[in-house]
């Protein structure tokens, strides 16, 4: 677009853009790159001098090696199982029609965006030793001991990861599957290829970019998982994230904590690179002129295939609805009766010893942090999206990758960077809500970019040109033409950032001190004290806030330009 403007305009745009861009870099340098650099530097120094000794300790000590290997192991298991559970779902959504299909497709985004601590809570209430499933089994078979042991083990951790990652596999693969041109399949069929051969020879290769990309996404999220491992693992199971948290927050060992962050960041950068490569593969997908033929799911004719489908649907319904329903029911039951008492407790002004503040204060803290974080990440993300779409600078791909770096840095590391880099002089942000809000802004702005970028790409430059040729000033063209067009996208991005911040616990727990708790931290504290009623009520509020936010994004995305951030 800039290329078509007059020479004078181009200079103006460039100068204005340049100033904004420098401001953006200065801000990110101050709150993110420099603090992160200091952490990484800490991991590479000993007694003030550059040294590999902390890194050496991490890479030769059996304990830290174990943590690294365990992180990888559970992430691989979580990824494989998420694919196993998610793929049949994608197949059902693609090839069959049934009532509520659109709604279910929209809902697949929910588990993924639920705060992980709420998933952990649901799992304890549903699968725990005194949870629903064990209670039913015990009363059904008159057992004296709970028969099902899945919590506090590798199985529990992996299943919880599957809970919130399998739906994303379903979502991504379903989107790719529906984009496949049915004519290729039909051509193969007319040449005599059977169903299995067509699936292996045609569908699978066409789906492989989507499979790889969703697998990489699940892998990265499981690899960097924190609240689930912390709650469902106990002290015996630690991922790198939990290891760093323990080193920094309880053992106060910044030296080894930083070195472990160094290792983690190197690993997650490699994984993120692979993910972005796989995602780039989406471009080769064929977009057919016709849609795939779909079959009604519910017909009277019974077959083995249908039986499998029904069994699958029953299992995933129990698996996905069980934990969420148990949070809902538990929030409404007090001492065996239906009651709103737990919700009254959440909005109480009185001090709660488990939280260190009143529950209402944690709600207000969350809203305040979410507001500030969104107010920062929205302009930062929009500027980066504009840069990515408009810039013709040489090496802009690399600059873009560097600007999106928080995606590849774990939440614990970002929390520690803010703590270590900004906690002391000159800003003295240690133990403030602002420090937490800054960490959230860093964590959320890449997602703002991902929502706004496709909106900007879809913008027709001729509209602006038309406005300009009709005499509108640059500012007027921006406010009256561009802004209304990208408005829904901006709103979606803001809601997205806000909801991510509201549900964020990991960086928060790295930065908080007594009295600064947010809602997810409150759920964690109440859950640890087995104050299930209050924990569930708080958890329900988080579920509703995130669900409403993401359903709104889903709608906004459809109404405006295509926004396929997830």
């Amino acid at each position: 677009m800039a290329a078509r403007l007059g020479a004078g305009d181009r200079g103006q745009v460039k100068r204005g853009g340049f100033i904004l861009f420098v401001g953006l870099l200065a801000f990110l340098g101050l709150v993110f790159y420099h603090p992160l650099f200091r952490v990484l530097q800490r991991g590479l120094t000993e007694g003030g001098k550059w040294s590999f000794s902390p890194l050496g300790t991490i890479l030769t000590d059996g304990y830290y090696l174990h943590i690294i290997v365990f992180s990888l192991k559970q992430a691989i298991m979580s990824t494989l199982l998420s694919l196993g559970i998610g793929l049949p779902g994608a197949y059902l959504l693609t090839r069959y029609s049934f009532p509520g299909k659109t709604a279910i497709r929209s809902l697949t985004v929910i588990p993924f965006v639920l705060p992980a601590i709420v998933v952990a809570l649901g799992f304890i209430l549903f699968f725990g030793n005194s949870g629903w499933v064990n209670q039913w089994l015990m009363s059904l078979f008159h057992l004296s001991n709970p028969p099902l042991h899945i919590l506090y083990s590798l199985t529990g951790i992996v299943l919880a990861h599957v809970f919130y990652n399998a739906p994303i596999v379903t979502r991504v693969v379903n989107a790719a599957w529906e984009g496949i041109d049915p004519e290729i399949d039909e051509a193969a069929s007319s040449l005599g290829a059977g169903g299995i051969r067509r699936f292996v020879g045609i569908t699978l290769p066409l789906l492989s970019p989507a499979l790889l990309s969703s697998a990489a996404l699940v892998f990265i999220f499981s690899f960097l998982s924190f609240p689930i491992v912390l709650t469902l693992g106990g002290a015996r199971y630690a991922t790198i994230e939990v290891g760093i948290y323990t080193l920094v927050r309880t053992l106060l060992d910044y030296r080894l904590g930083s070195a472990l962050i160094l290792v983690e960041t190197a690993l997650s950068l490699s994984f993120t690179y692979l993910y972005l490569k796989a995602e780039g593969g989406f471009a080769v997908l064929t977009q057919g002129s016709r849609r795939l033929v779909v079959y009604p799911l519910f017909v009277r004719k019974a077959s083995i295939g249908r039986v499998f489908i029904v069994v699958y649907i029953v299992i995933i319904s129990v698996f996905f609805l069980g934990p969420i329903s148990s949070v809902l029911v538990d929030s409404l039951r007090v001492a065996g009766r239906w009651s709103c008492e737990s919700y009254r407790q959440i909005f109480a002004l009185s001090y709660n010893p488990f939280l260190g503040v009143s529950p209402l204060r944690t709600v207000l803290n969350s809203l305040f942090i979410g507001g500030i974080a969104t107010a920062i990440s929205l302009p930062v993300g929009t500027l980066i999206a504009m840069f990515a779409v408009r810039s013709r600078l040489p090496g802009r791909r690399l600059i873009e990758a560097i600007l999106m770096a928080p995606l590849a840095v774990s939440s614990v590391a970002i929390g520690f960077a803010v703590l270590y880099g900004l906690g002391g002089a000159p800003l003295h942000l240690s133990g403030t809500l602002i420090a937490i809000a800054l960490a959230h802004a860093i964590l959320t702005y890449p997602f703002v970019v991902r929502v706004i970028r496709p909106v900007l790409e879809g913008l027709d430059p001729s509209l602006v040109e038309a406005a300009r040729s009709l005499g509108a000033s640059r500012n007027r063209a921006f406010f009256e033409v561009i802004l209304p067009l990208i408005g829904p996208g901006m709103l979606a991005a803001a809601v997205f950032a806000f909801a991510l911040s509201i549900g964020e616990m990991t960086a928060t727990i790295m930065l908080m001190r007594p009295g600064l708790g947010t809602m997810p931290v409150a759920v964690y504290s109440l859950l640890s004290a087995r104050q299930f009623g209050a924990a569930s009520a708080m958890g329900m509020i988080l579920i509703v806030v995130t669900a409403v936010a993401f359903l709104a994004i889903d709608r906004l995305g459809k109404r405006g330009t295509k926004c396929q951030s997830l």
């Binding site: 001991n145 809203l367 507001g371 640890s528």
Partner: protein, 342 residues
């Protein structure tokens, strides 16, 4: 839209801050159970009626977590804590960091009523206010008395598979005492073997005692590492002695809780007055019923339930504190490697 919301919340937050301040504030960093179970509320009421100040308890996890947090705050930008409560095994670390202001019987008159054997801090800053024994506690609806392990060794029996919840010695003082118990019982050369042998018995390792107790009382596990006064607690409050303490092989580990004045405090006199109140007979007699511990003040009367149900191990163990201070890091390091990285 967010700007308006933000302004609104800033106003709300500022308002709460403004309303909350005004008086001189004395801040006590304590552990979860002192506030949720302990005499914190009673102390606050009495102290605030005697002194014109706002007494605030801040509980942020188990005793070990709170110390780390305090030290980190002190390191970063100063702490607002005036007083700090801790378990006695933290004394070496507290001395290392020179955290406490030394106090004497002249400062705190009630200190004269505390037996010498409880005054374990050579620096004189750590004032004991209660003590007890770490033992095991079981759910009598799941296990009968005959089924209990006769000694720690028997915990490795497969019949106890996935029954025991213990606390993480890195984050919990109860868990740390249990670790010291195993070291005192099996020696430095044998304790890791014991831990590996009971690995199948351990359901999970929680970060603090409150979590372990919550799991016991919510039916998630029938056996936890806890305090020898648990039966008496049930008799006093639950009208039931479903959860009962027992000392396997007549053993238990001695634990002492104390309080100290943080050196940086600007209110040392107020802080001393608080410790004196904590050691007063009035508050000390509440400890058996709230903290479920034995008062440090030897003139305090024990409730009748304690006479009946308090388990006092015939063979109470306690390692010398200087040894604990010297070896603590290595023990934790080795434990971590034996239990987490199996």
């Amino acid at each position: 839209m967010f700007n308006k919301l933000t302004v609104l919340f800033v106003v709300v937050l500022l308002a709460t801050v403004v309303i909350g301040t005004g008086k001189e504030r004395l801040v006590v960093y304590t552990y979860d159970s002192f506030v949720s179970w302990g005499p914190a509320a009673a102390l606050e009421e009495v102290f605030e009626s005697q002194h014109d100040c706002d007494l605030q308890f801040i509980a942020a996890g188990g005793a070990k977590t709170t110390l780390s947090r305090l030290l980190a705050e002190r390191d970063a930008s100063g702490t607002k804590a005036d007083l700090f409560m801790a378990e006695v095994n933290e004394v070496p670390r507290i001395m290392n960091y020179d955290l406490f202001l030394p106090v004497t019987k002249e400062d705190i008159p009630n200190l004269a009523l505390v037996p010498e054997e409880l005054l374990l801090d050579p620096g004189g800053g750590f004032v004991p206010y209660e003590y007890g024994y770490i033992t095991l506690t079981y759910d009598s609806q799941v296990l009968t008395e005959d089924e209990l392990p006769r000694s720690l060794d028997q915990l490795s029996d497969p019949r106890y598979a996935r029954m025991l919840v213990c606390e993480d010695p890195r984050t919990s003082s109860t868990g740390f005492s249990f670790l010291l118990w195993t070291i005192a019982r099996f020696g430095e050369e044998g304790y890791l073997d014991f831990w590996q042998a009971i690995d199948p018995t351990i359901l999970t390792i929680t970060s603090g005692w409150s979590e372990a107790w919550a799991m016991l009382s919510h039916g998630e596990a029938p056996l936890i590492v806890s305090f020898s006064s648990d039966t008496a607690y049930g008799a006093m409050y639950e009208d039931s002695i479903r959860y009962r303490a027992f000392a396997p092989g007549g053993q238990g580990y001695r634990t002492v809780y104390g309080i100290g004045i943080v050196k940086e405090t600007t209110k040392p006199e107020l802080a001393k007055a608080f410790i004196d109140l904590l050691l007063s007979i009035e508050i000390q007699e509440q400890l058996p019923g709230t903290e479920i511990m034995i008062p440090a003040n030897s003139h305090a009367q024990l409730p009748p339930e304690y006479d009946e149900y308090l388990v006092i191990p015939e063979d109470p163990l306690m390692l010398p504190l200087d040894l604990v201070g010297e070896r603590m890091e290595r023990w934790l390091h080795d434990w971590e490697r034996a239990i987490v990285a199996k």
